[in-house]
């Protein structure tokens, strides 16, 4: 029996049963092209990130860590449909997760496609989308997903995989020896995208020895010609300057070996 469950908004809410049927509710996505998760890698269209030994990582969900018992879940009642946070479809060993978006809950007028349609008003319907945000395979204890941001509501703590740097971390990064801020740019001006890169860059810098840091700074200087330099320091005037320096720390710049051309790696995959 396949189950469609709904998780409501609110901290204490449980999963509720929506539908149980013997037919397939959601189409199982093709999980042949998978990559181990890394924040630097940008997925191709048909690729999925995967996390092995998922239960051991303790990103709790309230559903996948327990044995599945359909009779445990209460039936959803009419007043609760508008509060659905995400849908979970349990098909055999697979748990398919789909985040609810506001346009899935349709409260428009509608009619059935038949010979004698009647107008239905005030009868909201919920549309099940085709895409799937995450798949958990109970058989091999693996989570497949496309975007951490989309599944952070489903698995507690998983945003740590793609965390945003805190203000303290941003301050710490901007006060490193090779960075100076111009008068028009302060640490409060750093936007979300760069904060994520800073979180990553700090981890990278921490893994470097002082000489390696020096190396990476020189490497970055050779590529980031557009960033003003004052002695040994990059002078950050804009978000863009900060981004270029952060790319440098991740060593995303490279030169092709035949007909040398300087390039930026949009996505990184360890070989």
């Amino acid at each position: 029996m396949n189950y469609l469950l709904a998780k409501l908004t609110g901290r204490t809410s449980e999963f509720l049963k929506v539908i149980a049927t013997t037919s397939n509710i959601l189409a199982t996505p093709d999980l042949t092209n998978v990559q181990n998760y890394s924040p630097e890698y940008k997925l191709e269209d048909d690729e999925w990130f995967k996390l092995d030994d998922f239960l051991a990582k303790d990103y709790t969900n309230g559903l996948i860590e327990n044995t599945f018992n359909g009779t445990t879940f209460n039936q959803i009642t009419t007043d609760k449909y508008k509060d659905i946070k995400y849908l979970c479809c349990k098909q055999n060993n697979l748990y398919l997760f789909q985040k609810m978006s506001t346009n899935q809950f349709l409260s428009k007028k509608w009619f059935k496609v038949t010979d004698s349609p009647t107008l239905q008003t005030n009868k909201p319907i919920i549309v099940i989308n085709e895409w799937i945000d995450a798949v958990y395979d109970k058989g091999n204890d693996t989570l497949y997903f496309k975007d951490v941001v989309k599944i952070k509501q489903m698995f507690k703590g998983i945003e740590a995989l793609y965390r945003t740097a805190t203000q303290t971390e941003v301050n710490a990064f901007l006060s490193t020896s090779f960075i100076s801020l111009s008068s028009g740019f302060t640490s409060n001006d750093v936007k979300a995208a760069n904060r994520k890169r800073i979180a990553m860059a700090l981890d990278t810098l921490n893994s470097f020895s002082p000489s390696e840091v020096l190396q990476v700074v020189n490497y970055t200087k050779s590529y980031c010609t557009s960033v003003p330099i004052n002695g040994n320091m990059f002078v950050i005037e804009t978000e863009e300057h900060l981004k270029l320096v952060l790319y440098g720390i991740e060593q995303r710049y490279y030169t092709t070996s035949i007909k040398p051309e300087k390039r930026l790696a949009n996505s990184i995959l360890e070989i």
Partner: protein, 200 residues
Amino acid sequence: MSYIFRLFLIINSLSLSFLIFAIDKKVTLEWMEPIFCNICSFAVGKNILTEFIGNNFYIMLNISSYLFYFTCIILLSIVSVYFIKFLSSDSIEQDTLTNIEPANDAFLPSYLGYFFVALSVPDIEIFFVVFGIIAIFIFYSRISYFNPIFFIFGFKFFYVINSNNVKVLLITKKELKTTKSAKFDQLKRITNYTFIDTEG
């Protein structure tokens, strides 16, 4: 949908009490007498059978009234079993049950309670008031819908506990003994704690 079905189940489960009440207070289909006589004289005229019925009319009336009530009760139950298929589906997977205990015995005392109430109410108004209140309580308590007529159809009542420690009432035709290999693919949900098995 489940509301209608639950209302049906409650009426069913209390209807036997009405039979007891009717027998106790001799509530019969007496008003049928003139109609019946007319039909008899009009259709068949006088013969031995109608004479026999005429002589023993009141004894026959009592028995046939009670039989009529009982048939109605059975028919109501058949209708409610038919309604089951419109309820929402559910299942219990193999090896997820940890405990099975028969619930038949647990219900009989409360059912006897209904019978005693039925025997002691003085008239039909009080009967409907008392059982109306009982019906409302059963409806909103959403726990049990015990109907002894289901035994005649071969259903049995079990309390089962699953691996998440949730105890539910299961109405099934299967003979449950062990939790091993206990598996229900065609359950229907009456309430969140009451499930009925349509297999078999």
